[in-house]
């Protein structure tokens, strides 16, 4: 059932910009504001945010995690560190990594 919702209504996660818009919602942004914020950061229109073809290339260019298995692309926490910089917002696991990595 959850896949029905993902296909019918979801943003597409790391196939597109769903994870980025979600991160702004975690900061209490309503959907239109969150989409506009991410679109501005990426230099896209709001309508482009769920375009998987466009975002596949742009995510690799920005190195913020891609959905396919690309060995040289940023993975997991590496991608999130770049997302934190791109969006200009803290990501809790990235902050923990920096703390664990030491000065």
């Amino acid at each position: 059932m959850s896949l029905c919702h993902a296909l019918a209504s979801g943003m597409g996660g790391i196939r597109t910009t769903g994870d980025l818009v979600a991160r702004m919602q975690l900061r209490k942004m309503r959907l239109p504001q969150a989409k506009r914020f991410v679109a501005d950061k990426l230099g896209l229109s709001v309508a482009d945010l769920a375009d998987s073809t466009l975002l596949r290339e742009l995510r690799e260019e920005l190195d913020i995690g891609v959905v396919t298995g690309v060995a040289t692309a940023a993975k997991g926490i590496e991608a999130k560190a770049r997302i934190a910089n791109l969006l200009g917002v803290p990501v809790r696991s990235v902050d923990r990594l920096r703390q664990k990595a030491g000065p």
Binding site: S9, G10, G13, D19, L26, V67, G76, R92
Partner: protein, 354 residues
């Protein structure tokens, strides 16, 4: 154009409606919600749009491009390895693998780690294992990761817990004892939510999803709000509060949060106290009536959710699991109406997410 529209009842069985019947059900469902919660009915344009969604002959429906919303998911990867009681499909894989599948293969916007019983009480003694899972998943995943669990205050009453069971006391007229037992359980529940959530805070979780809130009524809701307030004040965890149903039941009956009586609150009123406590996302839950059509149920759910969306300051993620939001109460979900439920709650209910 077909003369009849094939849709379903709230128990999942197929039913054919005439266009007049469809429109009547949509109007009746909206009026039922509006009358109960004293909120506006859906307007004519909303009813027209809903009628279009249900009259569309395709097997599945989808939102218009550009209207996509963020998905949060209670239970999450548990449904991959879980059993029938959770509509799980029993695949032998670890939940860490399940989370990766949901992120990379299925395109989910967020994901969760959750105990198989999906309640704070059983998660507490295993919290070190839950932390390990969260910490590792945070290294591997790109999407935001919540820790998800239900308050499930019923687990704190005998025979499952230490406190006297109000369901035994109330039929005997022992009202004050029943109220006292609920307050004792609520205090323990609040402490357990905080214990598990602080453990997740330590390992870098993005947020906490407190799901199916107030299933045991107003005392459970109060415990949750108190925990949310504490977490919002002293951590930077994002907190999602998803509800159990559209009306907070008054099993205690005299509890308030900052002067607002909790028993009898409707979704837009639940939202107000959840926002006041400091939560970041709110999930209204509207219970599906199995003896009414899905269009009737969806119009009813959209009426509640639209009012939430109108007054909200935080994102609204409408609950669309089995038996809520207009989704039928049936083990194997029919994709035709499930997709239409999501579309309706986004395009008419104006939800920020599902």
């Amino acid at each position: 154009m077909t003369a009849t529209i094939r849709t379903r009842m709230g128990d999942g069985h197929a039913v054919a409606l005439s266009r007049d019947d469809l429109r009547r059900d949509l109007v009746d469902g909206s009026q039922e919600a509006a009358r109960r919660a004293k909120i506006p009915v859906l307007d004519g344009a909303d009813i027209d749009h809903l009628a279009e969604i249900f009259a569309y002959p395709g097997r599945i429906a989808g939102v218009e491009p550009g209207h996509e919303v963020v998905l949060t998911k209670d239970g999450c990867a548990n449904t991959l390895y879980g059993g029938q009681m959770s509509s799980g499909v029993g695949i032998p894989l670890a939940r860490e693998q399940g989370v990766r599948l949901m992120e990379r293969a299925f395109g989910f916007d967020t994901m969760e780690i959750g105990h198989p019983d999906y309640s704070f009480k059983p998660a507490k003694p295993l919290v070190a294992l839950e932390q390990l899972c969260m910490a590792q998943a945070q290294l591997d995943c790109v999407v935001p990761l919540f820790y998800g669990a239900m308050p499930n205050m019923g687990l704190y009453f005998r025979p499952d817990g230490p406190f006297a069971n109000p369901a035994d006391l109330l039929p005997d007229g022992r009202i004050e004892e029943a109220r006292a037992a609920q307050l004792e359980a609520a205090a323990r529940l609040r402490d357990d939510i905080l214990y598990v959530s602080r453990a997740m805070d330590e390992v870098g979780a993005d947020g906490i999803d407190i799901d199916t809130t107030a299933s045991a009524g107003d005392a459970e809701f109060l415990a949750t709000l108190q925990a949310v307030e504490e977490l919002a004040t002293h951590t930077d965890l994002a907190i999602e509060v998803g509800m159990a149903t559209e009306l907070v039941l008054g099993f205690h009956g005299e509890l308030d949060y900052k002067g607002r009586r909790l028993a009898g609150l409707w979704p837009h009123q639940q939202l107000a106290v959840v926002e006041q406590a400091g939560a970041h996302l709110f999930g209204p839950a509207i219970t599906t009536k199995t003896n009414k059509s899905v269009p009737w149920n969806v119009a009813r759910a959209c009426t509640f959710v639209k009012e939430c969306s109108r007054v909200a300051e935080i994102p609204i993620h409408a609950n669309v699991g089995m038996g809520v939001g207009g989704v039928p109460t049936v083990e194997v979900q029919p994709n035709d109406v499930v997709t239409r439920v999501g579309v309706a709650l986004v395009e008419i209910g104006r939800a920020d997410g599902l």
